[in-house]
Amino acid sequence: MANKSNDPVEVWHTMLGEMEKGFNSFATQAMSSPEFSKVMNQAGGMAAGAQKQFDGLMEKYLVGMNLPSRSQLVSMAERLQAIEAQLSEIKTLLSRMQGKTGGADDTDGALAKPRRTRRPPSAAGGAQ
């Protein structure tokens, strides 16, 4: 392989790395000024306000069109997630109940409660 100094791919990588460092450092310096903070927060405040207004208008428009809004879809997805979580809890409970009544067929390893007697490697003479 070509050595690092004349390998064009290595030169390209070094150049990219340096460019990234340089740009990050330049941008960080620029963003450290109070002026940047002022402009950013003014723009951010306006954008947040505009977004809020737009969301309200869009919600009304979608209701008018008899279509679900994003927030309604998100809330439906969350309800589905909650139902999935409840199913998972019921499954866990059933697994435990089955374990307590001595049910067999522990295929997924969820039932067997391991012993809480493990010692650190130092106490066991370095063996695990």
Partner: protein, 362 residues
């Protein structure tokens, strides 16, 4: 003679290099199409059960992988801005899997996006509500009174506040990763939230919960070139399946930033960014004094040498301020995320965590 031989060698190696690059270019075209057409890998697949769920709070119990486990269960508290699967990316790249195989009983307090009706959640709800509720659930589920807590970033900060407001237990050992204490040293965040220009009340009152996009943008602004460079590096390495898999998981995680509950954000801005109350020893949570000196349990703080989110200057005071006698700070190579996930974490942080925790988990 020698110069001529050297030049022949160089020509041969350059030709070999060109050949490799041409092959990679072809692979890039093929794999590039595959990349666009396929969905990414699914992280967070280590078998687990959700044992508690309340609003934004999710408590998982990971199924043990050994017949004999350490007596004291471990509760991992995730940062409120990010999903916990960064600690469980894929087999062989999962801190959770590593700890399970080393014989720990692992629980995780993870977060989902707070709903609009959860905009009033405050730090108090996290420190005096969610964490104690999960600790009780872990005690109940494991049958053990003692609990170890491991907190990452803001999760470490919440765990620290929990520990300082619950000096009588049942916390047995505390591990924090990259936990900020002196918020004046988080220079960029300080500038973004400069109280002369940043009207946090107006923001929270108008949006309710602080949008994930805003949180993500503020993280991206800490290293503005990183995302573009990431894309260039992806294109270069797209022939490498392992690289692409890791990239997609990290990219998915980065884009999966969570919104923050409005009141929690307001309180973080005023009490921590502006008043620096933890560092100044004036922090209270729900009327309880939250001084770091109240923490007396054994504590390990792992910090990253190149952390651009929580610089060492912001994190270094934790160990010197706590009241514990058994305390240790370890600085490891890496950044905020590579400290906990990726090849460096596997080599450096995971074994350190295991060696410290194993001695104290019996």
């Amino acid at each position: 003679m020698n110069a001529a031989a050297g030049s022949t060698l160089d020509l041969a190696s350059v030709s070999e290099r060109i050949q490799t690059e041409v092959q990679r270019a072809i692979q890039r075209s093929i794999k590039g199409v595959e990349y666009i057409a396929s969905s990414g890998p699914t992280p967070g697949a280590t078998p687990k059960d959700t044992i508690r769920s309340r609003g934004t709070m999710q408590l998982y119990h990971y199924r043990p992988m050994t017949d004999e486990i350490y007596r004291i269960p471990v509760l991992i508290v995730m940062a409120t801005t990010n999903r916990g699967y960064i600690l469980d990316l894929a087999p062989g790249q999962s801190l959770i899997e590593f700890l399970l195989k080393r014989g720990y009983d692992i629980y995780m307090l993870d977060w989902t996006a707070p709903k609009p009706e959860e905009k009033n959640l405050r730090l108090d709800d996290y420190v005096l509500g969610f964490i104690p509720e999960c600790v009780r659930a872990v005690q109940e589920d494991s049958g053990e009174t003692d609990v170890n807590i491991v907190g990452y970033c803001a999760g470490g900060m919440l765990s620290t506040l929990y520990a300082s407001t619950h000096p009588d237990g049942p916390l047995k050992n505390l591990v924090c990763f990259t936990t900020p204490i002196d918020f004046t040293q988080m220079k960029m965040f300080q500038n973004f939230s400069d109280r002369r220009y940043f009207d946090v009340d107006r923001l929270v009152d108008s949006v309710g919960n602080v949008p994930a996009e805003m949180i993500m943008t503020s993280f991206d602004m800490l290293r503005p070139a990183a995302r573009t460079m990431g894309q260039i590096q992806l294109w270069e390495n797209i022939w490498n399946d392992e690289y692409v898999k890791s990239f997609r998981m990290m990219d998915k995680w980065g884009a999966d930033t969570l919104p923050l509950a409005g009141e929690y954000f307001r309180q973080m801005t005023k009490d921590l960014m502006w008043e620096n109350k933890i560092f100044n020893d004036t922090m209270t949570v729900g009327g309880r004094e939250a001084r770091l000196a109240n923490i007396k349990v054994p504590i390990l703080h792992i910090v990253a040498e190149h952390d651009h989110i929580v610089p060492y200057e912001a994190a270094r005071h934790l160990i010197e301020r706590v009241g514990s006698t058994d305390k240790e700070e370890v600085m490891l190579k890496g950044g905020h995320v590579s400290l906990v996930a990726g090849a460096n974490a596997v080599k450096r942080m995971w074994p350190k965590l295991d060696s410290w925790l194993s001695e104290r988990s019996v």
